[in-house]
Amino acid sequence: MLEEKISEINSGFNQDIVTIKDQKQLEELRIKYFSRNGLVSQLFNELKNASKEEKPVLGKSLNTLRNDLTARFDSLKVKLEISKEKEEDKIDLSLPGTRRIIGSRHLITQTLDEIKTIFKGLGFSVVGGPELESDYNNFGALNFPPNHPARDMQDTFFITEDFLLRTHTSPVQIRVMEKYKPPIRVIMPGLCYRNEAISSRSYCVFHQVEGLYVDTDVTFAELKGTLVSFAQQFYGEGLKYRFRPSFFPFTEPSAEMDITCFLCHGKGCRVCKHSGWLEILGCGMVDPNVFDNVNIDHEKYTGYAFGMGIERTALLKYGIDDIRIFFENDFRFLRQF
C-alpha cells in the first residue's frame, strides 16, 4: 500500500521536475513535496500506521526516497541559481583588458641581434672592443701607412695624436688576433665614429659588425659562401648578389658585396641610385701585412674579414629615410619597433 505510494510519488516527482523553469516553479515543487504537509511528509505520517514488521523496511524505503528526491531537488536548485547569476551579472567582454607594457630594444639593436644570431649559427664567437682606440690599432696595424690617402676614406675624430675614436670595428680584429691563436672565427659588433657632416644619409656615430675568420685553409670562395648564406638568411632567399673589387688597406683582394635592390627589384630607383644594386658590406682576404703585425704566419694562415654598417642596413630594411632618427630617441619612433 505504502510502497505503491512511494513509487507513485517518485514517478510524479520525475514528471514534475522536468517542467521546472524558474525559481517560482521550484518553490511550488518544494512545497508540493517537501513542506510540512508535502507529499513526502504525508508518507512519513502514514508510516505510523504500519505494522511493526513492516516499519523498518518501509522506513528505509522512505528515507531512500526522501534523500533521492532532495538530492535531485538541490542539484536543480544550484543549476537554476547559476543560470540566474549569469543573467544578472553579465560581463561586458568588450571592455579593454589591463595591458602590461613590454618595452623594446632599439631598432639598431634588433638588427644587430638578428645579424649576430645568424653568424653565431655559423660558428662565430662574439667579441667587443673599446671605442677610444689607439691610432695604431685603428690604422697602423691595419696597414694604413702613416700619412697615406687611404686614411682620407675615414674622417677621424682625434683625442690626441695617438688616440682617436675608432672609425670602424676593425681594430677589434687586431685585439683578437693578438689575444687568440688561430683558428679564430669571430664577429665584433660595436659603435664607431666618423667626422662626417651630419645629414639624412650620414651621422657622426654609427654601428658596425666586423667579422674575421683565420685558419690554415681559408679562401675567398669560403668568404663568398659565408656571406651569401648570411645575406639569404637576413634579406631573404633567392636574392641576387655580386662581389665587386674594392680597396681596404687591411684586406687583399678586397670586395664590396651588392644585392639586388629589394625596393625596385633591380629595375633602378632613387635608393639604389638607379643602379639596381645595393651595397651591403665590404670584405676581403686578410692582408699579409696585417698578419705580420700580429705575429701570425701569413704563409701558414689565410683569413677573411668583412664589415657592415648597421644603420644603413636598418634604413634599407625598414624604409627609413633619415639616419638621424636612430639617435633622436623620439618615443614615437622607439615604440614602433
Binding site: 571592455l95 579593454p96 589591463t98 602590461r100 607594457i101 613590454i102 618595452g103 623594446s104 630594444r105 632599439h106 639593436t109 655559423l122 662565430f124 664567437s125 662574439v126 667587443g128 671605442e131 689607439s134 700619412n147 690617402p149 675624430f157 682625434f158 683625442i159 690626441t160 675614436l165 672565427r185 659588433p189 659603435l191 665614429y193 667626422n195 657632416a197 651630419i198 657622426c204 656615430v205 685558419d215 679562401t219 675567398f220 670562395a221 669560403e222 663568398k224 659562401g225 648564406s229 662581389f243 665587386r244 673589387p245 674594392s246 680597396f247 687583399e252 683582394p253 664590396e256 682576404m285 692582408d287 699579409p288 689565410t302 639617435f327 630617441n329 623620439d330 618615443f331 614615437r332 615604440r335
Partner: protein, 802 residues
C-alpha cells in the same frame, strides 16, 4: 673622376660594345662607375630652331612673344630671357621634351593669357652649366631642325668613376683605357704625336736644379717660346667641359687636358717672370708666406717643398703655382713643369695648408715617375700647335736616381690557396701581361714579373693575385656551399648585455641610443671629461662621462613633443680621464666603462576604468632596480645605502654596492638640474656600472623541492614614532626572529591624527613555515607574541587593533 667615353675611344677601339657593358665591366673590375650620364638619351629631343620674329608679350613687360621655326613649322613661343632676338639660332624644346634640370616635361602652356608651344632653353636648363642669365645662342653654322645631340656634339657618355686610393694610375683617361684593354683583351694606344723642335737649345734658355732630391726625385722641364695665349679650339673646350672643367685659355686648358689624359699634373710658368730663368726645387727652412695663383696669401711652414726661381718661391711643389709666375694673356715664353714629387711630402703640405688641388690629389697618391717626360712632350707639342709657339730643342730632365721597376714573384699554387679555385697558368700570365707587367723569370711553379712604375700598388705576390682575381672576375670565384666549423670554445662577450636588455624590456623599458659626443654643459656635471681635438661643433666637443645627461636630453625632447610618460634605458660606454692626468698618453690614463641607465618620468599607469592613475616615484625606481638585480640573481649580493642630501645630480638617492664597490647610483633628479634641461616634472634614474656588475659571479641556482608543509601567515600593525624607518624595523624583525620566519611584507603605511602627533602606522604580513614539518599553533603563537613584545619594547611602539 669624370671620364668621357668618346675621349677613351681615342686610345682603345670600343666599337660595337654598348656603353652599359663598359660601365658594368669597369665596375666589376674595380673601377666603380657611380653615375652615368648618357647625353644622347638626354638631348635627343632638343632641336636647333630659328627665331623668326620677336614681339612684346601683350600682358607682360618682361616676356617676349617669339615665332620660332623648327625646320618643319613655325611655333608661337613665350620667352622670358632678356637676350632673345630675332635671327638667333637657339636650342628649342618642343612639347613633350624632358628638361634635365628639375626633370619636368614641356607641355602646351598658357602664359599670361597667351599660348606657348615649347621652350627656348638656357644652359642651366640643359644641365650644361649654372648659367641662367639668358638663352643659349648658337653658332650660325648649326642646322635648323637637327637634334642638338649631333649639332652640339652632345652625344657622349660621361661616367663618374670612384677611384680607390690604391689606384692612382687610373686617375686619367689613359689609365682607364689601360684597364679596359686588359678587361676586353684589346690593343690600346698612347696618343701619337710628332715633336717639332726648333734649333734653339732649351739648355741655353733655362736651368733646373733639385736641392731636395728626396722629396723631388725627378723634375722635367721644356720650354715653348713665342706662344699666343688665347681661347682654346672647340675640340679642346669640349673635352674639358664634358668632364666638368671650365676652359680658361689654351695654355691652362692644355695642362688640364694632358693631366686628364695621362695622369701627370703639369704646371706652366711664364719663363720671363722666372728670375734668372731658373728653377730650384727645395724645402723651406723657416716659416714664410706665399701668394698662390688664386690670389690667396698662404703661410708655408718650415719644411714645405717649394719651387723657386733665381730669387724667390714661385710655386708650392705639387700643390699650386704662384701668382708671381702665372701665365697671363701677355705671356710669350712658357716653361712646362712635369715632375715627380714624393707623395708623402705633397700630402703633408696639402694637409697643413688645408689646400687640396687636382694636382696634389694625384701627387699624394703617386704619379708615374717614368711618365714625366712623355707628359712634358705632349704638353709642349699641344702648346706649340694651339699657341703657334716654338718648342726649344731638348728637355731638361733632372732625375738623379732612377726609380726602377719592381720585380714580384708569383707562385701559381698560392692563387688557389687564397682564392679557392685554380686559374690556368697561361691565363694568369696573359692577364698580368695585359696590365703591362713583363715576365722576368719563369719556372714550372713560379714566375717573376716586373711591374711598370705607374702601378705603385703592386709590390707583393698578394697584389698580383688581386689583379688576377679582379680581371678574371670575382664572379668566377666559386661560392662554396659548405663551411667547416671548429669545435673549439665559443665565446659571446655580448651575452650579459643581451640579458640586461631583455630584462629591461620585460620591465617595460624602451631602449634609446644617444650620441656619446656631447657639449660642455652636459659633460661637466658628471665626471672628468675627455675632449675631442677636432670636433664638428662645440655641442659635440667632449665624450660623455655618464649616460644620465644624454638620457635627460632625450626625456626633455620627448616631453616637448607631448610624450610625458617615459620609461627608457640605454647601454653605452662612458669615458673619464683619470683624475691625475692632463692628457691621454696610454690606455691607463683613462677609463672606458660600459654603463646602463634606467630613466622614468610621468605616470606609471594612466587612470583606467579599473585602476587609479599612479605617478612614478622613488619606489617605482627602487622596485625596478631590485627586479633587475633579482633577475640577474644578484639580489642577495647587492646592498643598499640611502641618502637624503643633495649631490650633483640627485636630491634623494640610493646606491647598490657589492663588497664595498658601488655598482650603481640613482634617485630623484634634483630640481636645479631639471630646470637646466627644461623638464617640468619629476624624473627618476639609476645608472649601473655594467663592467662591475658582469664581474660578479651570481650564485649557481639549485633546485629546491616545493614545500610539503603548510605555511602560516600572521598580520599585525604597530604605531611607531615617525622617525622610525622601515629599514630599522625590518632589520630588527629579522634579527630577533627564528628561522621559522620566512618572509615579511609591509602592506600598509599611514599617518593620521588619530594615531597621535608624529606617529605612523606600519602593517606587516608575516609568513612562517618549516621545510621539515608542520608547525604547531603553539610554536607560531610563541614566535608571534615574542615579536610583538620585542618590537613594542625596542621602538616604543604600540600594537594596533588591540
Amino acid at each position: 673622376m669624370k671620364v668621357s667615353l668618346n675621349w677613351l675611344k681615342d686610345y682603345i677601339d670600343l666599337k660595337g660594345i654598348p656603353s652599359n657593358d663598359i660601365v658594368e665591366r669597369l665596375t666589376m673590375s674595380g673601377l666603380e662607375v657611380e653615375d652615368v650620364v648618357d647625353e644622347t638619351a638626354i638631348y635627343k629631343d632638343f632641336i636647333v630652331a630659328y627665331v623668326k620674329e620677336k614681339k612684346k608679350h601683350p600682358n607682360a613687360d618682361k616676356l617676349s612673344l617669339c615665332t620660332v621655326n623648327t625646320g618643319t613649322e613655325d611655333l608661337q613661343v613665350i620667352c622670358g630671357a632678356p637676350n632673345v632676338e630675332a635671327g638667333q639660332k637657339v636650342v628649342f624644346a618642343p612639347i613633350g621634351t624632358l628638361i634635365p634640370k628639375g626633370n619636368f616635361k614641356i607641355t602646351k602652356a598658357k602664359i599670361r593669357g597667351v599660348e606657348s608651344y615649347g621652350m627656348i632653353c638656357a644652359e642651366d636648363e640643359l644641365d650644361l652649366s649654372d648659367d641662367h642669365s639668358g638663352i643659349m645662342v648658337l653658332d650660325e653654322k648649326v642646322s635648323v631642325g637637327k637634334s642638338i645631340a649631333d649639332e652640339l656634339s652632345l652625344n657622349d657618355t660621361i661616367m663618374e668613376i670612384a677611384i680607390t686610393p690604391n689606384r692612382p694610375d687610373a686617375l686619367s683617361h689613359i689609365g682607364v683605357a689601360r684597364d679596359l684593354a686588359a678587361i676586353y683583351n684589346k690593343e690600346f694606344k698612347l696618343p701619337w704625336f710628332k715633336l717639332q723642335e726648333s734649333s734653339h737649345k732649351v739648355k741655353d734658355f733655362a736651368s733646373v736644379e733639385i736641392e731636395d732630391t728626396e722629396n723631388c726625385p725627378r723634375y722635367t722641364a721644356m720650354v715653348v717660346r713665342n706662344v699666343k695665349v688665347k681661347e682654346s679650339p672647340e675640340w679642346l673646350k669640349n673635352r674639358l667641359t664634358k668632364i666638368g672643367l671650365r676652359p680658361i685659355n689654351n695654355v691652362v686648358d692644355i695642362t688640364n687636358f694632358v693631366m686628364y689624359e695621362l695622369g701627370q699634373p703639369l704646371h706652366a710658368f711664364d719663363l720671363d717672370r722666372l728670375a734668372g730663368h731658373k728653377i730650384i726645387v727645395k724645402s723651406t727652412e723657416v716659416e714664410s708666406t706665399f701668394k698662390t695663383l688664386d690670389s690667396k696669401e698662404r703661410k708655408l711652414p718650415a719644411g714645405t717643398l717649394i719651387i723657386c726661381d733665381g730669387e724667390k718661391p714661385v710655386a708650392i711643389a705639387g700643390v699650386m703655382g704662384g701668382e708671381n709666375s702665372e701665365i697671363s694673356n701677355s705671356t710669350k715664353n712658357i716653361l712646362i713643369e712635369s715632375a715627380f714629387f714624393n707623395p708623402a711630402s705633397v700630402r703633408r703640405t696639402s694637409k697643413r695648408l688645408g689646400l687640396s688641388t687636382e694636382a696634389s690629389y694625384r701627387f699624394e697618391r703617386w704619379v708615374d715617375p717614368s711618365g714625366t717626360l712623355p707628359a712634358a712632350e705632349r704638353t709642349a707639342q699641344l702648346i706649340a700647335e694651339l699657341g703657334e709657339g716654338e718648342i726649344l730643342n731638348g728637355v731638361i730632365d733632372v732625375y738623379p736616381e732612377k726609380i726602377i721597376e719592381k720585380e714580384v714573384p708569383l707562385r701559381f699554387e698560392r692563387i688557389k690557396r687564397v682564392l679557392g679555385y685554380s686559374i690556368p697558368n697561361e691565363k694568369v700570365i696573359s692577364i698580368l701581361k695585359r696590365l703591362g707587367l713583363k715576365v722576368k723569370f719563369e719556372s714550372e711553379k713560379e714566375y717573376r714579373f716586373s711591374v711598370p712604375t705607374y702601378r705603385s700598388d703592386i709590390e707583393r705576390e698578394i697584389d698580383l693575385i688581386e689583379e688576377i682575381a679582379r680581371i678574371n672576375g670575382y664572379d668566377n670565384i666559386p661560392t662554396i656551399s659548405k663551411i667547416s666549423i671548429s669545435l673549439g670554445e665559443k665565446v659571446d662577450e655580448s651575452s650579459f648585455v643581451d640579458q640586461t636588455r631583455e630584462i629591461a624590456c620585460v620591465l617595460g623599458f624602451y631602449e634609446m641610443l644617444n650620441n656619446p659626443l656631447q657639449g660642455e654643459d652636459l659633460t661637466e656635471i658628471t665626471g672628468n671629461r675627455i675632449q675631442v681635438l677636432n670636433p664638428q661643433s662645440i655641442d659635440m666637443a667632449y665624450l660623455r662621462t655618464s649616460l644620465i645627461p644624454g638620457a635627460l636630453t632625450a626625456v626633455a625632447k620627448n616631453i616637448n613633443v607631448g610624450e610625458k610618460n617615459l620609461k627608457l634605458f640605454e647601454i653605452g660606454n662612458v669615458f673619464n680621464l683619470n683624475p691625475d692626468k692632463e692628457k691621454i698618453e696610454s690606455f691607463y690614463d683613462f677609463t672606458e666603462v660600459q654603463k646602463l641607465v634606467f630613466i622614468l618620468t610621468g605616470k606609471e599607469n594612466e587612470k583606467t576604468w579599473q585602476q587609479q592613475e599612479k605617478l612614478f616615484d622613488i619606489y617605482s625606481l627602487k622596485g625596478i632596480v631590485d627586479s633587475y638585480l633579482l633577475r640577474l640573481s644578484l639580489d642577495k649580493a647587492a646592498a643598499d645605502s640611502y641618502y637624503h642630501n643633495e649631490e650633483t645630480i640627485y636630491d634623494l638617492y640610493f646606491t647598490k654596492s657589492y663588497k664595498g664597490k658601488i655598482l650603481g647610483t640613482g634617485g630623484r633628479i634634483k630640481k636645479e638640474l631639471l630646470k637646466q634641461f627644461d623638464i617640468p616634472q619629476d624624473v627618476f634614474c639609476f645608472e649601473f656600472d655594467l663592467n662591475l656588475l658582469r664581474s660578479i659571479k651570481p650564485e649557481q641556482r639549485k633546485y629546491k623541492e616545493p614545500l610539503k608543509y603548510p605555511k602560516s601567515t600572521r598580520d599585525l600593525a604597530f604605531v611607531f614614532e615617525k622617525s622610525v624607518t622601515y629599514e630599522q624595523v625590518i632589520k630588527f624583525i629579522w634579527q630577533m626572529s627564528s628561522e621559522l620566519l620566512k618572509s615579511v611584507r609591509i602592506f600598509d603605511l599611514f599617518e593620521n591624527p588619530s594615531l597621535g602627533k608624529s606617529k605612523k602606522s606600519m602593517a606587516f604580513s608575516l609568513e612562517y613555515y618549516s621545510e621539515e614539518r608542520t608547525l604547531t599553533e603553539e610554536e607560531i603563537e610563541k614566535e608571534f607574541s615574542k615579536l610583538i613584545s620585542e618590537v613594542t619594547k625596542k621602538f616604543n611602539a604600540t600594537l594596533r587593533g588591540t
